[in-house]
Symmetry: C2
Subunit: 505 residues, 2 copies
């Protein structure tokens, strides 16, 4: 067989998706023992069993709609045969009688990480320099560059310097509703486990976001205030930052990697530049890895509220308690109101291109994104900017913008990032390794020095979803132990992007 013809994500699915280009010919026999009744284009669904009129069409293990007429096994389940479901109102969401099963605990997996004083583990050993306001960014970036050049060569166990610059801190409505989000994000970024608990803050002095408001723990002196009388001249500011940095470098450098259980991982998931294969290969493979991570006791965070909003009822169906459903409802309602206040238009979802690619409706589209989260119970919901509060699977209720999502996952405590991409993006972060996963083999071949994992092999038939998930799980452990990803090798790092729903002034 030349490549997998059909991909079925869950054993409960009664449809599978045609993976091979350009599609199935009429009469083609497939690996699920069904024969195509008509030509079915690649990316589209074929029925694996007869689906009666009114019967559920199941993909990703979830009902994506009901058949408007009888569909034979091997039939093309196209958009017009599917009843477009009305989005259930948020107040109708409720916890299920039983959440999905958790699967067997997975023992004996570990990585070599850095153990922090608070008990968390880092996968990198990075000096972070927190900033309270954009005014200091120029000085801090200048100082960070000098630290890299002049100090770092003497501290071989330190992986790098992350200048946590951003565009918040002054010229903003700091007491308006929503301002707590960027503020707690700045705070929690400083506490990311990859920064080793060695907090260091550079402030201007007169900014609205005063350092005390961050409530950061830290041994004094951990703060440089550029307007302090003691700091005459630009040179002395830079010298002071270097002096504080060096004390931290000495301590960071004394650390060594130790064996940490896989349960110390906090893995943030994201997709960006998605294509028709995202929901077929990369995202479901990440979903398999997410289940393995959850079974191993790790924390898994998925996010992108814009992408999953239309599958709200299916997330609720994975909630082990009514509290989780209430948290989901609150966060979704807040975000709906945020978009409505700004006049954002959700009506173009899915796009004509999505439909041509085989996505019948918004629920199916959302499930392609949610597929990253696997099939485990949803243990909790994180408001944007907050730290993850437990093990298992967490939904971070933030925007899908790659950089905002990445920043919020860092604030949540992410120590390994898994990023799936179809169109391709040279994404990278300075605080955390990013494993970039391509949905197609063609992209992995075109960008051999950017893509870390080729999930396109699933469509090619050389590997199953299950195998890909296990391979990714092992890669996550390797990367957590210090194996460098492509963006790290190039030193590619995008800037942080804070989510500030409040006005600037």
């Amino acid at each position: 067989m030349q490549g997998a013809q059909l991909i079925r994500v869950s054993e409960r699915d009664n449809v599978a998706v045609v993976a091979a280009e350009p599609g199935l010919a009429k009469g083609a026999l497939t690996e699920f023992g069904v024969e195509a009744r008509e030509p079915v284009p690649a990316g589209h669904k074929v029925a694996l069993e007869p689906i009666p009129r009114g019967g559920a069409v199941i993909r990703y293990g979830a009902v994506i709609g009901r058949a408007l007429q009888d569909i034979e096994a091997g039939g093309w389940v196209r958009e017009e045969l599917l009843e477009s479901p009305e989005p259930p109102p948020l107040d109708s969401l409720q916890a299920p009688a039983a959440a999905p099963p958790r699967g067997e605990p997975l023992e004996g997996f570990w990585f070599e990480g850095y153990r922090n004083a608070d008990g968390k583990a880092g996968t990198r050993n990075v000096l972070g320099i927190t900033t309270t306001v954009q005014c200091v960014a120029g000085v801090v970036e200048h100082a960070a560059e000098r630290i890299r050049r002049e100090l770092l060569p003497r501290y071989a166990n330190v992986d790098g310097v992350a200048a946590l610059t951003h565009s918040y801190g002054c010229g903003v409505a700091i007491d308006a509703p929503g301002a707590e989000i960027p503020i707690r994000t700045v705070r929690n970024l400083a506490l990311n486990p990859n920064l080793g608990g060695e907090v260091m803050v550079v402030s201007l002095g007169c900014e609205k976001l005063q350092p005390a408001r961050l409530g950061l723990p830290g041994e004094e002196p951990f703060l440089v205030r550029l307007q302090d009388d003691g700091l005459g001249s630009f040179e002395s500011m830079v010298a002071r930052v270097l002096e504080l940095a060096e004390r931290r470098l000495e301590r960071l450098n004394a650390r060594r990697r130790v064996r940490c259980p896989a349960s110390d991982l906090i893995v943030g998931l994201q997709c960006g530049g998605s294509d028709a294969f995202s929901g077929l290969t990369a995202n479901p493979a990440v979903g398999v890895a997410a289940d393995l991570l959850a079974r191993a006791g790790a924390t898994v965070i998925f996010s992108e509220i814009t992408e999953v909003r239309d599958a709200a009822h299916l997330l609720a169906a994975r909630a082990p308690s009514p509290e989780v459903v209430e948290d989901l409802k609150r966060e979704f309602a807040w975000y709906d109101a945020y978009l409505a206040r700004g006049g954002a238009d959700r009506s173009a979802n899915p796009t004509p291109g999505n439909k041509r690619g085989g996505l019948a409706n918004v629920v199916e589209k959302a499930l392609g994104s949610v597929a990253k989260s696997g099939s485990m119970p949803l243990d909790g919901v994180l408001p944007p900017g907050e730290q993850a509060r437990g093990k298992g699977l967490w939904f971070l209720a933030g925007p899908a913008s790659d950089f905002i999502c990445g920043t919020l996952e860092l604030a949540a405590g992410m120590n390994v990032h898994v990023f799936t991409t179809g169109e391709g993006t040279p994404y990278g972060l300075s605080m955390c390794p990013v494993i970039k996963v391509s949905t197609r083999t063609a992209l992995a071949r075109r960008w051999p020095d950017l893509i870390d994992f080729d999930a396109g092999r699933i469509a090619g038939g050389s590997i199953t979803l299950e195998q890909a998930g296990w391979e990714m799980f092992r890669l996550i452990l390797d990367v957590a132990s210090g194996r460098k990803t492509w963006s790290e090798r190039h030193g590619l790092a995008n800037d942080l992007a804070l989510f500030n729903p409040a006005p600037v002034t």
Copy 2:
């Protein structure tokens, strides 16, 4: 005399402000021939002539309120003696019978600049690399660093490379109301005169903000699209950016400074980290320079809508036509609605600290900021992100946030930036020289390698406002001709910050 005791900004003023610390003693004779009737603290106002009950209190040449009781010459004009004016509703604003006089044209002033093909003039010769989306920022910054290191040494007439990275372009509600602001800002930044008209764009490929939407002129090929099939590997992306950059460096390098009239200047004004002396020394001195620039035919842009909103009626009184007043009303109303939608609170203005410092009400505070704009007619109002459309004095209706304001002034076409500061800030930009002006001599002494102009000498009495204004006018011409400011010498540059009033998604 040990320092100027009193500062009067306009000859029309019937109050002056005590400059000397800690203030005037009772009975002290001042340079305006009045004797203090009571102790008046520094930063506070003293009456220069008797002001009857109901009479206008005039500062910055404008009525800041009415006396609630008779005030003697030499009396302390404190907050509780002043009727707090009700802010005039926007629809009451109207053009005056006669705008203020324009002053004599000032001939014969020039600078050495770079003449661009479109007739504008640059004060620097910088290679700008426009980006459509944050996804490409890591690659572009990596490439820019290599251009600086490997190419720039061979192109001695080129001042630098500006990577125009930002956090817009995808993950945003690109069709929501207000989205036109960041989009036209990205476009107009690329056309800033200091970039010589040599447009070059790096795009990812799948982003919402497609390069065509920017409508940039440019000789093909001026675009690198990272997802293009031709670009296999990260290394080839960087190589392609370097290749395009080098063609532009060759052309930029062939340019030479030529004599340009002062009317080619587009000077952007801003204040940040203000203190009680901002409205006494630095801002009024910049105002004198602004008048000189306007008389010389240059374009002067001031902004910071949050700071000047409460002086709307006084801006309207400088409008030479009803159209300018309508433009002001439209922009102020839009911004009022933007703040109200986000629940921003304007009621804390002025702050208790402002009042202790001598600011009686919001109008007086706003006038301290508006003082930068001098006394000339207000020739036009620029919506945020648009290019300046003419000579004379323009109000840019954008937020006061230092970095958003600077970015919007760059998009308007600014080729010299004047930035006044009281508390001090190490502000800098990569595309344009920034002249940093201190309000106090103490700051200029503490930061000798950051402050370019000490306006504190006015309070010290060693220079008059008029002299300071002329000195600043001449410094602007020198800097425009290539004299480096402190932030340029250190290579200090803050990131661009786009004003996006629409939601992220």
